[in-house]
Symmetry: C3
Subunit: 353 residues, 3 copies
């Protein structure tokens, strides 16, 4: 059985990736065709001609106005997925239409619903409005990961690895040494993991971007909404500084690190990453620095997780991991994902009377 | 169960490919060794030493007179496949012989029988005598296809794809727009598909080779003898020209486009192609042009079909295609092939009384 | 069921390969981590962190004194495999320890025991003391083989292939032509295969290294101790020369060709090779010549066996080889290996009364 939850929203792309060119990306095993209509609406359909399976994203297939013409035999589809022309005859079979995916543009992200379209509720899409708001500047990228998405979930829910895998970038000894607190909100479907370091070394990532040096107060507050959206609320401030009772926090620097964890297949993942900040908004050097640094960090994760996927592929069945306190958040996330994927149906998770 | 019909003749090579060098090609999953005796006869045997499986086509194996010496331990075989020498002893086991394949040279093609040799009847091999006749000039090639042979059968039985996949080469709008007529001769085992365009654009392929320009009469008469031999009788003539009642056709240009569709494995195919013409017989520019153009067209098909094989490999089981009128010939061919492969035994296709 | 015998000693490396760097090699499917303590002892453990599987051999994992620090989350292990530190907490779970492999350094080889450590008896490791003795000079190498280990066993037990696969290096017509004698010592677990050529051509390998030319007496005495250690006692002497009754053999040149046949996985093998000689001990030209020649010969085997692995992968199930006299030793070795691998349990090989 698949470990990938369906009937869920996933990030498929950045909004800027979809325009008047045919664009394809495989999400949860489904190859999906994206393009924008002349009016600017994003469409999302199965990337496979109903006739003989040719991918509609592939040349010589092409976009003609608001229709897509298949490059193999010329089957032509409108923005609603309905076939409007077939070769050699005037009648178009009524059943000739592409499966359509619910799609939403929000917070600079393109979300698609994978599963039964009747269940799609855009109101359930988690928000990250700072990714597309005044007062914030964001850098971003996406790296292909040759590993199952759950390895990336494990990785991001346990930041103690920063000290070892990302030393010299974002890791310092305090990250691994400081205990975490974990909270699980099953109703909202969110896992929270917090680590507040009151007096810590400032890693290069924050030193050069904020201008702070020496010891700092560093807070990491993770808010993960399985399956796809991971947010790390990062607060960097001089030692001793705390937010004001009214919520304002003028001495601190805030960085929102966001990951969208989107399964491509059972064994590969789209690793979308974004870094938003509320300072140095127009400083292009800071933007370039944070983009380059975070991409390096993501590629360190990619290299490690690609190795883990290979390790799993060759290990004997029944291998058991050992978990410790730092894994509390990751294990909670795994339980939620297993329930979503149907491995532990939610209705049976409540004991019968 | 295999989808590849056995007890059938397949084209394994062009006659010019087989000489006094060891030559190997895998046909329907069987690696076969070919070479010519000193008298010029082609031999076809299993390409695998009976001792420890070493491929006899592979260096340092070598041809010595009319024997093949295995490059691993020196087992030596005659032209009839019998082992005539083994190392370390003088007695040669009687069972030491290579499986032999019936083989026929005809029409510049090397045909092998895949299946029970007792059933091989050279009289059943379909002919294409213009490939090796005075009055005709032929260009040819072979491209490896990383896709199952049935995808190439689909492709060739439905030429409406010329308009889209081969636009600028052999496709014009009329090919996709003109309805076809299909005829199936189950007794002879032939599928016919015809498309006669009375007034059509002349594509570059024919314009430059025939010298005709402007509008033309263009006939495409497909004659496919499953599983292997596909012939497209192509007639190009000025608009309004028809053959004389006696069969002569002096104003027309005739091009015989032949494909031999030979499965290499369940998922790969030898795509042999030949273009014979009855005009400009000695014009090497025309030969070079047709060879280059047809190879380009074949490589466009190869690129598309390789993609389809990948699509099939990752799609969920039970995926259903949608067929329309243009597919009539292809569907008839599929039925014949399925019957040949044993999926629908011929005797059960007739209802019992 | 695996064809690889467990509860056996295998050569994992040359002693010079293991030092103060983390070193990993997969033996019989198990990835194993090797390093030397500061006191010079070799350690051998599972190359996989107990926490989240990260390979301990892989950067940024590193050796710190006599501990290994995992590069992912910093789990730290001592030379006995016990975990001594985990991130985020002071308590270390008692079950946190790496599986340890019995390991022995002997005759310049690093042997590991694959299987139940309680059964490991270093006294059962076969010896080849000339590999690390005064009076002998040895050259060596290791080539990766993309083929199952049994194909290399077949290859080395039947040297008639030297004539064909290694002609111009170590093969001459007499090797294939001269019958062998085979002896199997089931109690000691050794297969002996001998071929004494009284009057043979001297191949380049021996001509240039010994200085002998013209006809020679050439003895090949194989002593194979399954599964791993293969020794070819090679004696080269002028025609007519025999050892003295007291065992001394002043007119002869002795070359000990040793192979360690170590399965990496079910379908790949570490092909360790060594050539020891009792002459020209300090002649670096002879060393360089023998190393280059033997490596070339091994690579000829590797190329052939890699092909055989591919042949097996695509052949229909139930394919039957044909064996002749030269295969007697190889077939005896196969029987021993099958018994060791549990295919023919030793206790059932004796008929019940």
């Amino acid at each position: 059985m698949s470990s990938i939850p369906r009937d869920q929203w996933y990030v498929a792309a950045y909004t800027a990736e979809i325009g008047r060119e045919l664009f394809s990306r495989t999400i949860c095993g489904d190859p999906i065709l994206f393009w924008r209509t002349e009016a600017g609406e994003i469409t999302a359909h199965a990337d496979r001609c109903v006739h003989r399976r040719f991918p509609l994203s592939r040349a010589p297939s092409r976009l003609v106005g608001d229709t897509v013409v298949c490059g193999y035999h010329g089957f032509t589809y409108g923005a609603d997925g309905r076939c409007v022309a077939v070769p050699g005859q005037t009648r178009v079979p009524r059943t000739a239409r592409l499966a359509q995916y619910p799609v939403v543009e929000q917070d600079s992200l393109v979300w698609v619903w994978i599963g039964d379209p009747a269940l799609a509720d855009p109101g359930r899409i988690p928000r990250a409005s700072y990714l597309d708001s005044p007062g914030w500047t964001t850098v971003r990228g996406m790296e292909p990961l040759a590993a199952r998405y759950s390895l990336l979930v494990d990785n991001l829910l346990d930041l103690s690895h920063e000290t070892y895998l990302h030393g010299g970038y974002i890791g310092t000894p305090e990250v691994a040494a400081t205990p975490i607190s974990t909270e699980v909100d099953d109703d909202a479907g969110i896992v929270y993991v917090s680590r507040h370091m009151a007096d810590a070394e400032c890693p290069p990532f924050y030193e050069r971007s904020t201008g702070l040096s020496g010891r700092i107060s560093r807070w990491q507050d993770i808010e993960y909404t399985p399956p796809c959206l991971y947010k790390l609320h990062s607060r960097i401030a001089p030692v001793g500084s705390v937010p004001d009772p009214d919520g304002s926090d003028p001495d601190a620097f805030h960085v929102e690190v966001v990951y969208a964890i989107t399964p491509e297949t059972e064994h590969s993942t789209h690793d979308f990453w974004l870094v938003a900040r509320d300072f140095a908004l127009d400083d292009e050097d800071v933007s370039a620095f944070l983009a380059e640094q975070n991409r390096t960090v993501v590629l360190q994760d990619v290299a490690a997780l690609d190795v883990l996927e290979q390790v799993i592929a060759t290990e004997p069945p029944g291998y058991q991991e050992l978990s410790v306190n730092i894994d509390t958040g990751g294990l909670a996330a795994r339980r939620m994902l297993a329930r979503m994927a149907g491995a532990v149906p939610a209705e049976r998770a409540v004991p019968a009377r």
